[in-house]
Symmetry: C2
C-alpha cells in the first residue's frame, strides 16, 4: 500500500514500440491506478445510479468528482468534516476532482454556443463571444474577469465566485488525490483571438493555482498532504496555441497534466490536437484526457500517449438503454430495440459483470421501457465493467507489444451503423 | 426444497395465546415463506430501484407482481416465453400476482373519488358513482360490466378487457406461486348499496375465476401446475357485507385468502374490518392483507390473524428520503432534514443492511437532495431490510409468547411527530 502522506507518482512500465502508447502505475495515497485507465465520473461524489462498493466490485480503479457541484452542494466544509471525498462517499480508491472550469464554461459560452467539448452542430454563424454571457431567459449566469468567474448557483441562485486560489482551497478540502486548477474553457466556435486570450488567462490562472497549492502545503489547517496538482493544457483546435500551452503548462512544475477545453469540431481535429500537444508534455508525468470516452477515441488517445480518461457518456448511454457489445455497430446495442423482447442472452455473453451474470436482454429491455430505476444501475454496471475490461486488454496488449493488433481488431469488428442503432 | 409440482400449503407452527396472531410456514414450489411476512412490491417484476439479488441478499422472502402492469408490458406471453416471472426476473423465491382489480379501480372510481385503500380526504359530498367513470380530461378509462372490465392501456391507449377468466389465464402464464382472482374494488366514498352490488359481483367473479383455474389445471398448454388461487374478501367498511363476503369467499374452496378493497375512512375502521372478517375465514389457510404496510398497521393486522402483507409505501417513502428508525416519530426519519447534514452515523446503528453498513446519514442526505438515482436503491434496501427484521422479530415473539410485549415496546417507542417529521 502506498504511503498516505506521499503525493502522487507515476512510473512507466511498458511502451508500445509503434506508437506513443505506454502502460504504467499511477501511485496515489489511496492505491495504484494501472494505466491506461478509465476514470469513473462521480460528479456529485457518486457515479450515477451506482453505490461506490458496486464500482469497486467491478474493478473500477479511480473516480473523478466535480468541484463546482460539490462546492454548491453539500459544500466542501461538509465533505471535509466527514473525512473528505473518501470518508464522505465510502469510496476507498484513488480520486480526482475536476476544477469546475468546464462547468463555468457550460453555464456561459457552452450554453450560448450550444456545444460541448467537440462541436457537432454548427449554428449559421459564429456569434462573437460576449464577456457577459447570457443564457436562456436573458439571466446572466457567468461573468469572467481576470480575478476569476462569478456565477449563480444552480442550486439556490446565490452569487458565487471561483478564483484560481479559492478553487485550490476547495479542492484541498474535498481531498481528492489528484486535483486540477481553474481554467477557462473555450468553445469550438470561439475564434483564434478569443481562444488565445482564454489560453493566456488559463496560464496565468495555472500559475496562481500552483502558487496557492504550494502556499497551502505548509498550512496545517489544510489536511490531505497526499494531493497532487495536474496542469490543464488549453488552446482550442489551433496548433500554435496548443503547442504554446503544452510548453508553458508543461514547464510550470505540475505533478501531471490534463488536456482540456475544446478539442475541435470533429474527431479528426481532436486527434490533431492530441498529436500537437502530447509530445511537448514532460514524458515522465501522467496525462489525463478530460471528457472523452468513446471506444474508438480511447484507442486513438492511448496511441497518442494519454494515460487516463474520464467521460460521462458511457454511463449516460447506459441509462438510455445503449450498452456496450464488441462487434455491434459502434460496439453497442440499444436494449429498447424490439428484437431483444424475448432474447434470453445476457447483454454480452463474454462479460462477467453483475448484470450479464444475472439478467437477460429481454428482462433488461422490459425494465428500460418501463422506466424502472433498477435498470439504470444494471445497465451502468455493464458499461463500466466493459470499459474496465477494455482498458485491461489495452494494458496487456501494450505489455505484449500487440497494441496495434488489438486496435485493428476492435476497429474491424465495429460494423457500420444499422438502422435503429445505437 | 419443496416439490415444484406441488401447490401451496400452509402450516401454523405457533399461536399467540392472547390474540389471533399466528406464525407458520407457507410452502410454495419456490421456497417456504415464514409468516408473518412482508411481501415486497414488484409491480413490474422489479421492486423499484432494486435488482432481485439485492432483495434476496437482504432476506426478503416473497414478492408480489401485478397482472395489470405486466399484461400491458411486456405481456404475459413474453413473460411465459422467458420462463414465467421467475425465469424472466431472476427472482428464485416465492411470488404472488395481484389480479389487476385494484388497478382497474384506480383508473375508475379511485381516480374519481381521489382516494386509495383508506380515504383520508373527504370531498364535500359523496358523488353517486356512475357506471361509466370519467377521469381527467373527460376520457373514459374504465367501464365495468358483468362480463368484466374494459379499460384503456396506460401504455399505448389501446382498448383492453379483463374478465375473471382472462385474468386467470394471464396469471397462469405469468406463473406466480399464489395468484388472485379479478375483483371489483370499492372506494370508502361508495355507499352501502353500491358496495353491496360490487361485493356480489366480486363473488360471482370469484366463482368464475375458480372455475377457470380448475379448467386450466388439466390443460397441458398452461404450465406452472404449482400455482394456488387465493380468494379476495370485499364488502367495504360495512360489517354485514364483510361478514357475508368472508363466509361466501371462505366457503368456495380457495387455497388461501386476501382481504381487499376499501378498508374504511380511518385506521379504526380498517381494524374493525379485520375484526369482522378474519374470524370467519377458514382457520387453516393463509390470509393476505392487500396494500397495508405501516409499522403500527402490521402489528395490528398480525394481532388480528393476518399472515402476509404487501405495501408500496415503505419503498415509496424511501425514495422520498423517509427511512425507518425504531424510536423515531412513527419509526422514521427524513434524511432531507438539515440536522443530518454532517451526521456520520448510519441510518440505524442496529441495522445490518448494505446501506447502514456502508454509508452515513450525511452522505445519504447529500445523494437524496442532489436527486441521485443511487440514493433510491440505498434507501429502499434499508426500509425493506428493516421490515424483514421487524417481521423476524414478530415471528420470534409469537414463538416465545411475547408478541404483546413486543407490540407494546414498538408502540411506546414511536414518539409523537415532531415539527418537520417525517
Amino acid at each position: 500500500m502506498p504511503d498516505p502522506t506521499e503525493s502522487v507518482s507515476f512510473s512507466i512500465r511498458h511502451r508500445d514500440p509503434a506508437s506513443l502508447a505506454r502502460s504504467g502505475d499511477l501511485t496515489t495515497a489511496h492505491g495504484i491506478v494501472q494505466t491506461p485507465a478509465f476514470v469513473g465520473v462521480a460528479t456529485r461524489a457518486t457515479v450515477k445510479a451506482i453505490e461506490p462498493q458496486g464500482l469497486a466490485d467491478h474493478g473500477l480503479q479511480i473516480l473523478i468528482a466535480n468541484t463546482y457541484h460539490l462546492h454548491l452542494r453539500p459544500g466542501e466544509e461538509t465533505v471535509a468534516a466527514l473525512g473528505g471525498l473518501h470518508g464522505f462517499s465510502g469510496w476507498t480508491g484513488p480520486t480526482m476532482t475536476d476544477s469546475g472550469g468546464f462547468q463555468v464554461f457550460s453555464l456561459g459560452a457552452g450554453k450560448e454556443h450550444g456545444v460541448g467539448k467537440v462541436a457537432s452542430i454548427f449554428p449559421g454563424k459564429d456569434a462573437p463571444p460576449t464577456s457577459k454571457r447570457r443564457a436562456e431567459g436573458g439571466r446572466s449566469l457567468v461573468r469572467l474577469t481576470e480575478l476569476g468567474a462569478d456565477f449563480r448557483s444552480i442550486v439556490d441562485g446565490s452569487l458565487r465566485t471561483f478564483t484560481p486560489e479559492s478553487v485550490i482551497a476547495i479542492e484541498r478540502k474535498l481531498g481528492a488525490d489528484i486535483i486540477l486548477p481553474l481554467d477557462e474553457c473555450t468553445s469550438p466556435l470561439h475564434d483564434y483571438a478569443y481562444t488565445k486570450r482564454a489560453m493566456e488567462r488559463t496560464h496565468r490562472w495555472a500559475r496562481r493555482g500552483l502558487a496557492a497549492f504550494r502556499l497551502l502545503e505548509g498550512d496545517p489547517s489544510f489536511p490531505n498532504p497526499h494531493q497532487a496538482l495536474f496542469g490543464i493544457v488549453q488552446g482550442g483546435a489551433y496548433r500554435d496555441l496548443r503547442e504554446e500551452s503544452a510548453r508553458v503548462i508543461g514547464g510550470m512544475g505540475f505533478d501531471g497534466f490534463a488536456v482540456g477545453g475544446s478539442l475541435g469540431r470533429s474527431k479528426d481535429e481532436m486527434l490533431r490536437v492530441l498529436d500537437w500537444t502530447v509530445p511537448l508534455l514532460p514524458e515522465d508525468r501522467a496525462r489525463h484526457l478530460l471528457g472523452i470516452g468513446e471506444i474508438e477515441d480511447l484507442f486513438a488517445a492511448v496511441r497518442r500517449g494519454l494515460d487516463t480518461f474520464d467521460c460521462a457518456a458511457p454511463t449516460r448511454l447506459a441509462r438510455n438503454g445503449s450498452v456496450f457489445l464488441k462487434g455491434a455497430p459502434r460496439h453497442r446495442i440499444n436494449l429498447r430495440n424490439a428484437r431483444f423482447a424475448r432474447d434470453e442472452q445476457p447483454i454480452d455473453p463474454m462479460c462477467d459483470c453483475f448484470t450479464c451474470t444475472h439478467h437477460s436482454r429481454a428482462y433488461l429491455r422490459h425494465l428500460c421501457r418501463a422506466g424502472e430505476v433498477s435498470f439504470y444501475r444494471l445497465a451502468t454496471l455493464h458499461n463500466l465493467r466493459f470499459l474496465v475490461r477494455l482498458m485491461e486488454g489495452i494494458r496487456a496488449s501494450i505489455r505484449a507489444g500487440s497494441f496495434d493488433a488489438l486496435s485493428a481488431d476492435w476497429a474491424a469488428t465495429a460494423r457500420p451503423t444499422e438502422t435503429g442503432e445505437p
